[in-house]
């Protein structure tokens, strides 16, 4: 990122190659919409280009990138509302395909869990996505959110609890 900041803009392609997957995963799990997540990934990298001068050497690149991603996602929700999308294609694996009963049951549980996750408050879902799917430590999440690791632990526990509650509220046959 340093060379990009110094003017070698073409190097942004290397950063895109390295980081677009985790970023897409984060934005997809936050929006539940593949198309929106793809657009937002582009927006994040374009913003990184525009605001490259704000990148500081003392911070981690991923922290800076996720801060921008959070802003981009917040702007998206402001414009389009934090609507919950559960696209049909993502429910494919929860259909009544033949197979052992427990596999089918598991697929249904997965679909319910996904709905429960989407039903959570945005900031709660964000914590779960960062820790569980991005593999970030409490300290790393704290750096992105601007709070200490202890606060992250407490908030994260609350988020998991809410997810469990939401999961029990999603009807089984849904």
């Amino acid at each position: 990122m340093r060379s990009v900041r110094e003017g070698d803009l073409a190097r942004m392609g290397v950063l895109f190659e390295r980081h677009h997957r985790p970023l897409f995963d984060f934005l997809y799990r936050m929006t539940g919409d593949r198309g929106a997540a793809e657009d937002l990934v582009q927006d994040v990298f374009v913003r990184m280009l525009r605001y490259r001068a704000t990148y500081r050497d003392d911070g981690k690149f991923e922290t800076w990138m996720f801060r921008i991603a959070r802003n981009v996602r917040a702007d998206h929700f402001r414009k389009h509302g934090a609507a919950v999308y559960v696209p049909e294609e993502d429910m494919d694996w929860a259909t009544d395909a033949p197979g052992p009963a427990h596999i089918l049951e598991r697929a249904r549980d997965m679909a319910r869990l996904k709905r429960a996750l989407q039903a959570l408050r945005d900031d709660r879902r964000e914590l779960i996505v960062m820790v569980r799917y991005q593999g970030m430590t409490h300290e790393q999440v704290g750096a992105v959110l601007g709070v200490d690791a202890g606060t992250v632990k407490v908030r994260f526990h609350r988020a998991l609890k809410e997810l469990r509650d939401a999961f029990t509220r999603v009807p089984e046959g849904d």
């Binding site: 942004m12 895109f16 997957r21 793809e38 427990h102 997965m110 869990l113 994260f156 998991l160 469990r164």
Partner: protein, 268 residues
């Protein structure tokens, strides 16, 4: 220790990353508190279920092409505005704006994809294409193996995920996944490797590898995921293994409870 103290430490407890003194405190509390034991078990289950949710499909090549077009547009825009300002020239009526370039690139991409779809494809038997496919598969496999060796946990996690995208992974990849499950220092990477191994659960060597690795695991979270794996694999040894786990008093209580429920599920 109070029940309310457990919550924020739960994940570290399940991951096996707590220092010994705090671990002892929690164990002592759990030994006398059924509600907290249930809470630990439910959290571990939820954590594993979350991990089993599939990653979204990603069309990297298309996204990269789109970004390259946007990047080129941005660079050209920068160069142009520099030239314009140096010459103090008036703004042309029709500038080749980045968004226009992006739309152009997107249109070209759509045309390209369309042509690719409707053009008659080369026969499957073409030896050059077969060779190319084989080379591509080998390259992907090498990338996966190389990612699994990286120092960074997120890179290794990427390696485990990439293994799921290989159509017919060779024995090296399966062995590397088992090695990752046994020895990777990061809990999330080990959990991901259990998930990645699910597609090979019909292989006896894989089931045996997972069963053998279970007692070595320090994290109850990973152990529970492994119990689920054994259960889903439904191998001829499943009942016996679950029974042994239930009887193993050295195992974490939440893991034994999961094995016990598994036994009930398979009908014992």
């Amino acid at each position: 220790m109070q029940c309310t103290d457990l919550g924020p430490q739960m994940l570290e407890y399940l991951a096996g990353t707590l220092p010994d003194d705090r671990l002892a405190e929690i164990r002592a509390h759990l030994a006398q508190c059924q509600a907290c034991r249930d809470e630990v078990e439910a959290t571990a289950e939820l954590w594993n279920e979350l991990g089993a949710a599939p990653s979204p499909r990603l069309e990297s090549a298309r996204m990269r092409a789109r970004f390259d077009a946007a990047l080129q547009g941005y660079i050209d825009g920068q160069t142009e505005s520099r030239v314009v300002s140096m010459a103090a020239a008036p703004r042309p009526a029709m500038r080749w704006q980045p968004w226009l370039q992006l739309s152009g690139a997107a249109a070209l991409l759509v045309i390209g994809v369309g042509l690719g779809r409707f053009m008659p494809s080369a026969p499957q038997s073409n030896p050059d294409i077969a060779l190319l496919r084989e080379e591509l598969r080998d390259t992907r496999q090498m990338v996966t193996l190389s990612l699994l060796q990286q120092q960074s946990a997120s890179e290794r996690l990427k390696g485990v995920t990439t293994s799921g995208q290989l159509e017919q992974p060779g024995t090296e990849v399966v062995t590397a996944l088992l090695e990752t499950l046994r020895h990777d220092p990061n809990v999330n990477v080990r959990l991901a490797s259990v998930d990645a191994l699910r597609r090979f659960s019909s292989r006896e060597t894989v089931r045996k590898g997972v069963v053998d690795a279970l007692p070595q695991q320090e994290s109850p979270l990973v152990q529970i995921a492994m119990v689920d794996f054994i259960l889903e694999a439904s191998g001829p040894e499943t009942r016996k293994v679950l029974q042994q786990l239930v009887e193993d008093m050295m195992l974490n209580q939440a893991v034994r409870s999961r094995a016990e429920r598994g036994l009930r599920q398979v009908g014992l």
